[in-house]
């Protein structure tokens, strides 16, 4: 029952072949003037080939930093990778020479950033920017690289791509720019696509377009998708598995269906309770009390304890590990899922169900 899941795996052994990405006990700290921020603090997860993983969390939870660490895009210092291993496609990449890493980046793993306007270079045409990386990674000539750029733009549904490649980012709308970002990421046929809040800056109907596009493309190209977002609705529609992060740690993981329908970590429960839905209309939203902890002064044991409605003495004294909870693949970082908390669990779950249905809905 109290099997500890996140004990670090033995070092050095590569994961099985069907695992595209495995992160083990990753710790990324930032050294700043006021002290040290444990932005990512002991995070482990795996992503199989062709599958999709959602990383959910609020600002400051460490979800973006874990992706940037993986791409090795952080400045060291101020960042420090204190421990951990990242296995990608059979190779450990944290210890890889930068030269080799550059060959992976943009080629085998590609990232779609949140802000398409600031992530595209305003002084180069779309075609220049896509062709540049194709030329570099695929060792083809300029002409072939441009043809590839046109093909990629066509793939993401941009009309008259022959004309569009010669345009600059400012000549396009927000949704169109995000399509260009996706085309750029796809141009080298990556094995892993990392999307960091790909639709946050977009309007609702454009968001729907981009999400459908990402889904279609992932199915067609059979690449794996890592989706980083704060929007549980987007996660619910897009991915197979999900990890929920809070204050630098994974607090819950499992399939989307397990985690979002029957959450078992109090933070995930609280998050879902606080989202306005039709079932809550007419009732009062239950809010998670307080604010995220100060990263320089984390709570000593469980990091969610000060805000947790179910916490008791144990939670203040001893930090929980990830324990098996609920369904098959589900794990939650909470003492409720140990023998010590077993007596309190049914009440917590009943509480959660009540808060999810506080309203009368639309009748």
């Amino acid at each position: 029952m109290t099997e500890v899941i996140d004990a670090p795996a033995p070092r050095g052994a590569p994961p099985p072949d069907d695992v595209l990405l495995e992160v083990r006990d990753l710790r990324t700290y930032f050294h700043v003037l006021d002290g040290t921020v444990p932005a990512v603090d002991g995070v482990s997860y795996t992503l199989k080939r062709g599958k999709s993983l959602g990383i959910v969390g609020e600002s400051g939870s460490g979800k973006s930093v874990s992706a940037l660490t993986m791409m090795r895009l952080l400045d060291i210092p101020p960042a420090e990778i204190r421990s951990g291993e990242i296995w990608f496609d059979g190779k450990e990449i944290l210890g890889m020479p930068m030269e080799e890493m550059r060959k992976l980046r943009g080629n085998d793993m590609a990232m779609i950033f949140q802000e398409p306007l600031t992530s595209l270079n305003p002084v180069f045409t779309i075609g220049d920017q896509i062709a540049e990386q194709v030329e570099r990674h695929k060792k083809v000539n300029r002409k072939a690289a441009w043809d590839r750029a046109i093909e990629a733009l066509q793939l993401v549904g941009i009309p008259s791509p022959e004309r569009r490649v010669k345009q600059y980012p400012h000549e396009m709308s927000g949704g169109m720019r995000q399509r260009v970002m996706i085309a750029m990421a796809l141009s080298c046929e990556p094995k892993l696509l990392i999307a960091d809040e790909p639709t946050t800056a977009l309007d609702v109907t454009i968001q729907a377009q981009i999400l459908e596009l990402l889904k279609t493309i992932q199915e067609r190209t059979d690449s794996a998708l890592m989706l980083i977002t704060h929007d549980l609705g987007v996660v619910a529609e897009m991915v197979d598995n999900v990890i929920v992060m809070y204050a630098g740690q994974v607090v819950e993981e499992g399939t989307v269906d397990e985690v979002l329908v029957n959450p078992r970590a109090p933070y995930t429960m609280g998050l879902l309770e606080s989202i306005p839905t039709v079932d809550k209309r007419g009732g009062r939203l239950s809010a998670i009390k307080g604010t995220v902890p100060n990263p320089f002064n984390m709570p000593p044991a469980c990091r969610f304890e000060p805000r947790c409605p179910y916490a008791w003495e144990l939670c203040h004294d001893k930090g929980p590990d990830l324990y098996r909870a609920g369904a098959a693949e589900q794990r939650a970082r909470c003492h409720l899922h140990t023998p010590a908390g077993a007596g309190r669990l049914p009440e917590a779950i009943a509480d959660h169900d009540r808060r999810m249905n506080v309203g009368q809905g639309i009748v």
Binding site: D203, V204, Q209, T216, G270, P276, T277, K280, T291
Partner: protein
């Protein structure tokens, strides 16, 4: 303690959420003639008719007007006392411009705004000032809307000062009361905005709006910049204040889930016009405009078991500087396509038509919307073809 804002009071008439009257101070007017207008719910507090706001595009060598942005282009609606009326739409649809025009923070180009029975469209700044107390706004960006060089006491007190509360002590007392009202500590008055978190700043923004005892508050995306767990705290606060202070809200948002949870009636805007308006219950259950249908279908639902196929709209929102002729939505309309592109859609601008119970829709073919037509539109759409509407 002689608390002036007694949120728990069951008799709002007995303790009006109006200006504090502190003995010996040159306070705001004690009697409040405007309050009479809103006694009894169901009264129209705000009436907007034919409102337009056009912005000139200046350019060229001679800096002449070379075009016009039709940000708000003929909008009619009523807001009843005590209700929450939401305006939803995508960026560029004119919802923020509309919200600010109502308060005359920007001068409307045409149309009339009637507040509590009085036409305020053309009254002078001097006449407007006392009315401003009754109409306040909460801004979207809690970082940009608070002056970083001012302590909280000045941020909230500035409006009180402008409204004639010249006595420092009385003002500070009122500021502290307002802070308490929004769940912040009274001691925070000497602090500066950077000392607060996003959620707390938004509370300061709310305190500033409420300090003057408004009747109507325009909430312009008040929770969009906040994290989910903080969002619900602020929404709950707005709901409590609405009940305790008997407020009327105009709630501007692009988040359809929040609007559904929070409001009584909703107006869906598209390119400067209202496409559909009605009670939340009606509009969400039985949308009559193809744009509303698509918007509702685009809401991502956090329950994976309720996953549904989306109706994805093609193309981008056209520029409000060159809105399409006829129905503004016809360039992206799935219903028009289904009906074989009838000519009427691109030639004749649809007016709001009544569908009962205050539910109005501006679509020539609203009757054609049914579960079947929506389902078949979902089936026939292929996402890779959605990026049409290419400006030539």
């Amino acid at each position: 303690m002689e608390s002036t804002n007694a949120p728990a009071s069951t008799e709002p008439e007995a303790v009006p959420p109006g200006p504090v009257v502190v003995e010996g101070s040159d306070s705001l007017t004690e009697m409040d003639p405007l309050r009479i207008a809103r006694v009894g719910e169901g009264n129209t507090l705000l009436q907007v008719r034919g409102l337009k706001k056009h912005f000139p595009i200046i350019g060229g060598l001679l800096k002449r007007q070379i075009g016009t942005v039709f940000a708000v282009d003929g909008v009619d609606f009523d807001v009843n006392a005590g209700e929450t009326f939401s305006l939803v739409g995508e960026s560029g649809c004119g919802k923020t411009t509309l919200g600010r025009s109502i308060l005359r923070l920007i001068e409307p180009t045409a149309g009339t705004i009637t507040f509590a029975g009085r036409d305020i469209t053309h009254i002078s700044a001097d006449e407007l000032r006392p009315l401003r107390r009754k109409m306040q706004i909460i801004f979207q960006d809690p970082f940009g809307s608070l002056n970083p060089r001012m302590p909280v006491s000045d941020i909230i007190g500035e409006g009180l000062f402008a409204q004639g509360m010249k006595d420092r002590k009385a003002r500070d007392k009122k500021v502290e009361d307002s802070l308490e009202l929004v769940g912040l500590r009274r001691e925070y008055t000497r602090r500066y905005p950077h000392e607060f978190s996003g959620g707390q700043r938004q509370r300061i923004g709310i305190a500033r709006a409420l300090a003057l005892g408004p009747d109507i508050v325009v909430c312009d995306e008040p929770v969009s910049a906040l994290d989910v767990s903080i969002q619900s705290q602020v929404l709950n606060l707005l709901i409590d204040l609405r009940r305790d202070l008997n407020l009327t809200y105009i709630f501007i948002s692009h988040n359809l889930s929040v609007v559904q949870y929070f409001s009584d009636r909703v107006g869906v805007m598209y390119l400067g016009r209202i496409a559909e308006v009605g009670a939340v219950e009606q509009l969400y259950k039985d949308p009559r405009h193809p744009y509303t249908v698509a918007l509702l279908s685009a809401i991502p639902d956090p329950n994976p078991r309720r996953r549904k196929k989306r109706l994805v709209l093609k193309g981008d929102v056209p520029s409000p500087a060159a809105p399409p002729k006829g129905c503004r939505f016809h360039t992206r309309c799935w219903l028009r396509e289904k009906l074989g592109n009838p000519e009427r859609c691109s030639t004749e601008e649809p007016q709001l038509r009544d569908f009962g119970g205050g539910h109005q829709t501006a679509c020539h073919y609203a009757e054609q919307i049914s579960a079947e037509s929506v389902a078949s539109a979902v089936e026939t759409q292929w996402v890779l073809e959605t990026a049409v509407a290419d400006p030539a």
